[in-house]
Symmetry: C2
Subunit: 371 residues, 2 copies
């Protein structure tokens, strides 16, 4: 093997993703490649779909991974559902809301948005007010804003969107597998995630689910989906039904890896997995408090798996992150956009969310912050 | 690990891709995941780019893998280069030429095409005639038509396209790493491939390269690229330069795998790799001849890595393929479109292209064809 690959140093991944990968997932990803039309591979695809439905909280038949990273899930939702001129409302309080605006705009949507301060949640009252004044084809929100560590009230927003007839699109990239995701209960019509956050699989796939209503809009399109690679009308003929028509060659080994991850999570049990994330988060917050560090987000809106920590006065943002990586083999994330230089982002995602990892980080951080 | 994954049976992959994966690549894909902004990962990215340039035969700075399978490479080339109303000429003699027409049309191109009979090559004379009558923004062709096993004369077509000022786009999904690909010599402006053919890596990435002229057209676009996920103006800021700005989370472990594959190929030596493909092909053709089977494509146009074999009168197409897979653990491919039921497609790609594999297939095929 190439020397560079031999010398990769195992890193404790406590940034905004990728997270530490389960051992079973590493074993799975190196299993022998078989054909994408091999009946045995189709069995694996079917089993994976069932696991994804359970973790996503849906009975949608159209539930499967897109052959790209989390952002391809965002692209897939919008490109399949937006037709030129559709009015789309995005509820934005961070990088990924902004990204949704950009994605939808490029596809010819009339994009409207409500901007909330980064580090604070989407406010249902403002959403209700906006929805009284205008009719939208799609309303989109991020469940777990990876750029700020804020949890958005997706259930409350869903309750407002449903009566308007708009399709409800929810980004669950960072939430899926770390806090409850209940697509059907929320009344969400399109939902996507990524593999490298709380699913603890390497990056490369984007689990996605469409409701019957979303599928209805897709099937009623006046124009072809302007993206062959992500066209769900064709992809679903490969993931569903009896013919399993070839569309593109599925990323076989990544699918093995994702299936090993969903198996591991469901064998541990979703409630236990969520509790483990919650406990690691509480341990982290208490430990940071002892170090004199404070959280950027108000307590009731904090995500357990993505912790925005205010960088203390006088601390060297990049210097601390670089020392953590070089001396302690721990990765944490920087702030983005208006939060650059103001916060560190500490991920407690999936396999990473364990007490020994939190301890290791707290000790290392204490060492790096010592004058 | 999940039981289904334990029971995957190692298969001799002799279909149209995926191909057998090098052992080093399996080792590489399971190396520890590190961060996509980790300076060590960026070293691996840079080393991979250099290897890709060598195998693609280019000095283009903009050479890197897209985070999707081979078809995402096709999508990326067209979506970055086509602006609404652009005239695109596609030279079609199989499924992948048809796919190019579809992809370009969805993006608002005015698509024109020359249709050649499936199983025969693109004829430069017809191309020359067409180019005398019309000016195109892009002319696109497939080097190795995976659906038919035909090699197209990409150098001769390039010589015709260059003086017209059109950008020249070449699909090298199946050719790259199996026969010489000389992007700069051909005067190609955009080129893409996939990992699961002659590179012998699992599917999941699409190596791509843009010439300075292609980059010029991209930078002069009047409208944003209508695909956020594949927008090269942003992706190149992650793969190049000093800032390495985050766009989407790269598929880390797939990139390890591809790098292990390119290292392996370059250590064997491109000329030796090409000779190995050629020898396996000749061995196969001679062996098939002894079995009374004939090739579908005329000798001078045959690809070594994708062999279209006429299904003999009275043979059970699906039955033979299914027996090969179940009894002999060998996968071969079916015919597509007008060639369904008429041909089998036997792949000799990358690690698969070895005398012992050809022998094994010939014996198994003889057994399956016995009345």
């Amino acid at each position: 093997m190439a020397g560079l690959l031999d010398d990769i140093k195992e890193t404790l991944l406590m940034g905004p993703g990728p997270s530490c990968v389960y051992d079973e997932v590493y074993t799975a990803i190196a299993r022998p490649t078989i054909g994408h039309l091999d009946p045995y591979f189709i069995k694996i695809m079917d089993a994976l779909k069932e696991d994804l439905k359970t973790i996503i909280g849906t009975s949608n038949r159209l539930t499967m991974p897109m052959s790209g990273t989390g952002s391809s899930g965002m692209e897939a939702c919008f490109v399949n559902l937006v037709e030129h001129g559709d009015k789309v409302l995005v509820l934005t309080n961070g990088v990924f809301g902004k990204r949704m605006e950009d994605v939808a705009g490029r596809l010819g949507a009339q994009v409207d948005s409500i901007q909330f301060e980064w580090g604070t949640p989407v406010l249902p009252d403002k959403v209700a007010e906006k929805l009284r004044g205008e009719t939208y084809a799609i309303v989109a929100v991020v469940h777990a804003e990876t750029s700020t560590g804020v949890c958005n009230p997706v259930q409350a927003v869903g309750d407002l969107v449903r009566p308007t007839g708009a399709l409800y699109l929810v980004d669950c990239v960072t939430s899926l597998g770390g806090i409850p995701v209940r697509m059907d209960e929320w009344g969400a019509d399109a939902l996507y995630s990524g593999t490298q956050k709380c699913l603890s699989c390497p990056p490369g796939l984007a689990p996605l689910s469409f409701s019957g209503r979303a599928l209805g809009k897709l099937n009623a399109r006046k124009s072809k989906v302007p993206n062959w690679y992500l066209d769900l009308t064709m992809i679903m003929n490969y993931w569903e039904g009896n013919t399993r028509a070839y569309h593109h060659t599925a990323p076989i080994n990544m699918i093995y890896a994702l299936y090993a991850a969903t198996r591991r999570i469901l064998e541990e049990g979703l409630d236990k997995v969520y509790a483990r994330h919650r406990a690691a988060h509480e341990q982290l917050v208490a430990g940071l408090d002892k170090l004199g560090l404070s959280m950027y987000v108000q307590k009731e809106f904090r995500l357990p798996m993505l912790n925005a920590v205010s960088i203390p006065e006088g601390a060297d943002d990049a210097g601390v992150r670089s020392r953590l990586l070089k001396e302690f083999s721990i990765e944490i994330g920087n702030g983005l956009g208006p939060l650059a230089g103001k916060i560190w982002r500490i991920g407690l995602m999936g396999h990473t969310a364990r007490p020994e990892n939190v301890d290791r980080l707290l000790k290392a951080l204490a060492a790096c912050l010592k004058k």
